[in-house]
């Protein structure tokens, strides 16, 4: 299992498409920084192919006033959870 990290919003950037095309069936994706916008109900549809394997960073949601606005299918983790994901994944691939 690999962890993919995306830090750009699907509203402005197509980097999320590259991340998705790099993901195997067990891989998970964590949204950080401006990428957390992807956790909004209107944008989460871009991540439909990996439903259940999408995470978003709590601190970055909070800083942007988006914490209470995430789609239900998104798993919110804090930075300790981010570290745990990197432990569990064989390696981490960042898309920026």
């Amino acid at each position: 299992m690999l962890l993919h990290v995306v830090n750009r919003s699907p509203a402005n950037s197509r980097v999320f498409e590259q991340a998705l095309s790099g993901m195997g069936p067990d891989d998970v994706l964590l949204l950080i920084e401006d990428g957390v916008q992807g956790a909004l109900p209107q944008l989460v549809r871009y991540f439909a192919p990996i439903e259940g394997r999408l995470f978003a960073l709590k601190e970055d949601l909070e800083a942007r006033g988006l914490l209470g606005r995430c789609a239900e299918s998104v798993q919110v983790v804090d930075v300790d959870g981010f570290v745990t994901l990197t432990e569990e994944a064989e390696r981490t691939v960042s898309w920026y």
Partner: protein
């Protein structure tokens, strides 16, 4: 020579970036505040992810830095009152203009070129 058409406002600052992720939003706002302090008529246009700058309930960044919400609250003091928001970008994110932290004017896609034409100078951030 520069045309000094009196129907034109002085400066339109286009803000296209989210808070915290980069310094673009802050640096664009700084340019707007300085122009306003110099007595210019300044408008802001929030486009793309820039509309997230207007989300209520923003907090500090990862190392405690302030972000831009406090700066936005000072706009009125600087007489920057024309706050335009790309209506399409807003609905793409699932937001409505009445839940934003400031009173803004949603503009339709057709009205955006008019906004650009109505200012003597346009800066994009």
């Amino acid at each position: 020579m520069h045309e000094h058409d009196d129907t034109l406002r002085d400066l339109l600052v286009i803000l296209r970036h989210a808070p915290h992720g980069s310094s673009w939003l802050k640096e664009g706002l700084d340019a707007a505040l300085v122009a306003a302090a110099f007595g210019q008529s300044v408008s802001l246009l929030f486009m793309g992810e820039g509309v997230t700058a207007l989300m209520p309930g923003q907090g500090p960044g990862p190392l405690g830095q302030k972000g831009t919400a406090a700066t936005l609250e000072m706009l009125e003091m600087y007489d920057i009152e024309t706050l335009l928001v790309d209506a399409q970008a807003l609905s793409a994110l699932g937001f409505s203009s009445d839940e934003l932290m400031l009173d803004v004017t949603p503009v339709s896609a057709e009205a955006i070129p008019e906004a650009l034409s109505a200012h003597r100078l346009v800066l994009t951030f």
